[in-house]
Symmetry: C2
């Protein structure tokens, strides 16, 4: 898994987009994640640090260990964290299937936008669970591209989104994973699993959200896989262009866009 | 419109289901709808009174006028309200396209699960608007069957839901209307339009919701149009049965079901 190509995450523009996305959704996704002073937190799969910076700022007195398989990503993440003057994060290169930590090391584990890329998400959760102290808690956040619906409706826009879902499936991932967090965490042996869906709803009464989410986050992400989808013959150029145009059209004054993230917690019982 | 057959609403079992549904969703959909003492409220399209009873109980000192085109429905609604000992509702038969009230009669209008059945929902809203006093407010609540997604996924379940969407379209309605409330209210001339999406999320950690919503509300509603969908050749018997079975399967211990209602308000400016 760890050697598979991710659908997104490895270009400069992508890094920017992921950071933008994290800024936009900060309050919405993270404001109820608080770790007490002195607690040891593992961030599993920190990538370029888009979530790390939020965790570190929101929990200045927690000790955060952020791991990723990619040294390049870690270096970017570390640079950003240091530039912000944050000292409470230790970075560590490692494969989340076999992390170099002893059982019962952490009070909390945080894993965000990672499981969607993995062919065996439940197995990752099973591997992470023993790293928690008894009573320790995991927080998982994922999107679900199948949760997207919008007005005006468009089969072409739907097709473009489906290309992203298929590409992610082709590389072993699951772009519809958000809805599965309950069975995944339960199946991995966590107790007291609770899922909190968080819908982004954007219409013309919320122009910032229209810009930040529909344009800069969601549609930018779909657009980003255009060449790959076209190269693989998943869709024709005309349909693709129309799909992207129709996604942007949902930003119009009569447009509406809905997308749901899922945040789940589970306890090592 | 007013003479068209509704997809649902006209059988005893249906009445029961609609009442069940209203009980289940009461808190969730209605708890932030409060009308001050002495205010005059129009409920446009009360049907068998499933929402009327909630409005009347939640707003004991408001004067509620509930209208419907169907005398049978009104009689049922009235009986239920009287049995509950509620005196603050006046029932009145009328076509919501041409109601027998003067301009500026009401402080509030409430219209719930009605627009989905009408071919010209925006025109209804345009007709209702002048009945409000200046500064008066309308509240609209609708579901959106295109917002449903679930785990385990099933193309058959999706097909069964699509039959309901198509039947509603064939009778001039729109089962995907929830997402359109913002443009509909804005287009009808209301100001300060605000939409609040409300997702029902059910998994095994919420067994009551699984029973009440997935089984007794949503799947019961889909099941209710089975004969019609089969008679019209929209789907084969085998696919239908499998679709319904797969919907019930989302009630299992690893199942998840998501559905979104939309509640919108607008002001007569």
């Amino acid at each position: 898994m760890s050697h598979k190509k991710y659908v997104h995450g490895y270009t400069d523009r992508e890094s920017e987009r992921l950071t933008d996305q994290a800024q936009t959704l900060t309050t919405f996704l993270h404001d109820d994640t608080h770790y007490p002073a002195g607690s040891r937190v593992l961030e599993a799969g920190c990538g370029v640090g888009a979530q790390t910076i939020i965790l570190a700022k929101n929990n200045p007195r927690a000790y955060i260990t952020s791991v990723d398989i990619s040294l390049d990503s870690l270096l970017q993440a570390e640079r950003m964290i240091r530039e912000e003057g944050l000292a409470n994060v230790t970075f560590c290169q490692g494969d989340i299937f076999q992390l170099p930590f002893g059982h019962g090391t952490f009070d909390h584990i945080f894993i965000c936008f990672v499981l969607e890329h993995l062919a065996e998400p439940q197995r990752v959760l099973e591997r992470l669970r023993p790293l928690l102290k008894k009573g320790g808690m995991i927080t998982v956040i994922e999107g679900d591209h199948g949760s997207a619906f919008f007005h005006p409706g468009s089969l072409f826009a739907q097709k473009a989104i489906d290309c992203l879902v298929r590409l992610q499936r082709d590389t072993g991932g699951n772009a519809l994973i958000g809805r599965e967090l309950f069975p995944l965490l339960s199946g991995a042996g966590f107790g007291e699993v609770r899922v909190s869906p968080r819908m982004v709803y954007a219409d013309a009464s919320r122009p910032d959200l229209v810009d930040d989410f529909i344009k800069l986050t969601f549609t930018a992400m779909v657009e980003g896989i255009g060449n790959e989808a076209l190269d693989k013959g998943m869709i024709g150029r005309e349909d693709w262009d129309r799909g992207i145009r129709d996604l942007y059209r949902t930003c119009g004054k009569d447009g509406v866009f809905c997308y749901t993230f899922f945040k789940a917690t589970g306890t090592r019982t």
